[in-house]
Amino acid sequence: MNKLLASVAMAATIAAAVPAVAADIIVVAHGQANDPFWSVVKNGVQKAGEDTGANVEFRSPETFDMVQMGQLIDAAVNQEPDGLVVSIPDGDALGPSIERAVAAGIPVISMNSGSDVAAELGVLLHVGQSEFDAGKAAGEKLAEMGGTKGICVNQEVGNVALDLRCEGFAEGFGQEVTVIPTVNDPAEVQSKVRAALESDPDVDTVLGLGASLVGEPAVAAVEALGRDDVLVASFDLSAGFLQAVADGKAAFAIDQQQFLQGYLPVAFLALHAEYGLMPGGDVPSGPNLVTQEAAGQVIELSAQGIR
């Protein structure tokens, strides 16, 4: 009798200890984890996983490689997760893989890039910033601050989202803008920006498409030349660039709050898996211009990989 009672009690304890089946959510992004920008996205993904109890995995190709990224999405679909988060820098190349996920009945949310194609691929919603509009807002602000001739420094040539930022910048700025292609290397960016400023003294505005990879070296290049008339602005945040903004060495940073781009889709999909909840439309995570007054507060969070 005692034995029976014991085993019943034990069974009850085991049943109580087994948690509800946690949602499996896979994130496939085009940016590498060694890119300071994407490490913040990844931090957002992990925080959302901790907060919701979902099993999350962050995956990305070795380089900016759309063919490989499509294969990673296919691999994720094969595992039939409860939710899939993708960035879509190239709708043509990734479309078939995403449509396959949608056809398989996997809820898909896009983030960061892909707002233009997300809906037609069957993606539930997009969390990100309109690249063209953000570039335009930056251009308008820089023109207002007195810029007359600009360069747009692109560190990831081939990424359409970045091309859109430069196009938006050119439109908002309303003056001559030259695009300078570079690689993912701050040292090279610094010398290229320096060369561009030296070869054309009329250039007084530099827009970088990434804070730590382009913004900081651009500030260094301007300082090295002793030009204090050059406006430097950059997309995204880094502690170093924000310090430059706070010190008045740089004009402003354009924050797309990519922590949210990692956090929100995972949180939405976890809620979707548990309760069937889903917001009714796209969520703009930015742009948010961080100027000198605000920069101080943001620096600490940026150093922690949250902003």
């Binding site: 070795e62 490689d65 063919v67 490989q68 691999a75 994720a76 094969n78 056809a103």
Partner: protein
């Protein structure tokens, strides 16, 4: 008495045991590597990886890399390198995109013209190497940068400023040659097998694998043809002879120049084939296609048993080398490891495979 006859017997006539013969094959290390990597993932990865759809999934990148790797292996056996093949993928992709989208040519013209374009650049590479006597490593390193830059400049010219050329899928839609270079083969068969429940399906009833991606078929066919050429034809002997000792080969009547230039044209065409397949599948091409593929292709060839000094190696080894690469690339996403560790794993596995391969070869061939 017995020992005496053995000592006098000509060693070339001595019968070797089956195991020794097997061990002397350059591809043995790569096959061992495949087994090793398979065991590793069987132990660590989600079981989805070794379902039919999981296998197709890692065979696709393996096939794309393998087509380059087999060509790189043949060139390496012939004693040369081609570092420009990764950039050639981007460049040939752009050329193909311009032919189909901007000029609206049908595939029957666009594909041979893209191939001819690539082959002529390969021939130029080969001619410069032969004429200057410089190491092909250096000459094609220049090619790596020139072609990468030319893809960027060309894309901007032909798209009016963008670094990405879109619309290839629409341009080639309905072309009778398209199914040979894009999409999945045997779709009907797979749909039928799925309806019978032999192939897994998604909740909505669609088969988990719509067919065999065509690049896998190209990859297998290329491996078989390359192996046949290397082992069973005079051309194969010429390639081994050229890579082994150029002077000796020249003196014994091997057309060394022709062999080398043809091999450079072959690697360029292999890159163009990969470009055509991936551009048609993706529907677009951009300035970063094929990035780093030159190194991956050489690693594939080395895992496959090729010596960096030429004259030794195999195409089928490169075939298995590419499979190792594909398994590691995709396989890690099926495991619980944090993806930050990806490159460390990749590098570690490749090192292990090469060291293993090398150790076996040295023991068997008695090479120092």
């Amino acid at each position: 008495m017995v020992a005496d006859t053995q000592a006098h017997e000509d060693e070339r006539l001595r019968a070797e045991s089956f195991v020794t013969k097997l061990m002397k094959k350059p591809e043995l290390g790569a096959i061992g590597g495949v087994i090793l990597v398979t065991l590793f993932f069987l132990a660590t990865a989600d079981s989805t990886m070794f379902t039919l759809s999981g296998i197709m999934n890692f065979m696709t990148p393996a096939a794309q890399l393998g087509i380059l790797g087999i060509a790189a292996a043949m060139l390496m056996i012939g004693g040369e390198f081609d570092l420009s093949i990764g950039s050639m993928v981007a460049f040939a992709g752009m050329v193909f995109g311009v032919f189909t989208v901007n000029l609206g040519l049908p595939l029957i013209l666009a594909i041979p013209m893209t191939m001819a374009f690539a082959a002529s650049i390969g021939a130029v590479n080969g001619s410069i190497v032969l004429k200057t006597g410089l190491p092909s490593f250096i000459v094609t390193l220049a090619g790596l940068f020139i072609l990468r830059g030319a893809s960027l400049v060309g894309l901007k010219i032909f798209t009016g400023g963008s670094t990405q050329l879109r619309g290839v899928r629409d341009a080639v839609e309905g072309d009778w040659l398209a199914p040979i270079f894009s999409g999945d083969a045997f779709a009907g068969l797979f749909g039928w097998l799925a309806s019978l429940g032999i192939i897994e399906t998604f909740k909505n009833g669609a088969p988990k694998i719509p067919g065999i991606p065509v690049e896998i078929l190209w990859f297998i066919a290329f491996a078989l043809v390359a192996t046949y050429i290397l082992l069973r034809t005079p051309v194969g002997n010429w390639i081994f002879a050229t890579g082994g000792d150029t002077d000796a080969a020249t003196n014994s009547g091997v057309p060394v120049r022709r062999v080398k230039i043809s091999l450079f044209m072959l690697t360029a065409c292999a890159a163009a084939l990969v470009a055509i397949i991936t551009v048609m599948d993706a529907g677009s091409t951009d300035a970063r296609r094929g990035f780093m593929k030159e190194f991956e292709a050489i690693i594939t060839a080395v895992i496959g048993g090729c010596l960096l000094t030429g004259g030794y190696g195999s195409a089928i080894g490169a075939f298995f080398g590419a499979i190792i690469f594909g398994m590691v690339t995709i396989g890690l996403t099926y495991t619980d490891f944090d993806q930050d560790w990806f490159q460390i794993f990749l590098g570690g596995m490749l090192l292990l495979a090469v060291v293993f391969n090398n150790a076996i070869r040295k023991r068997v061939t008695g090479e120092r």
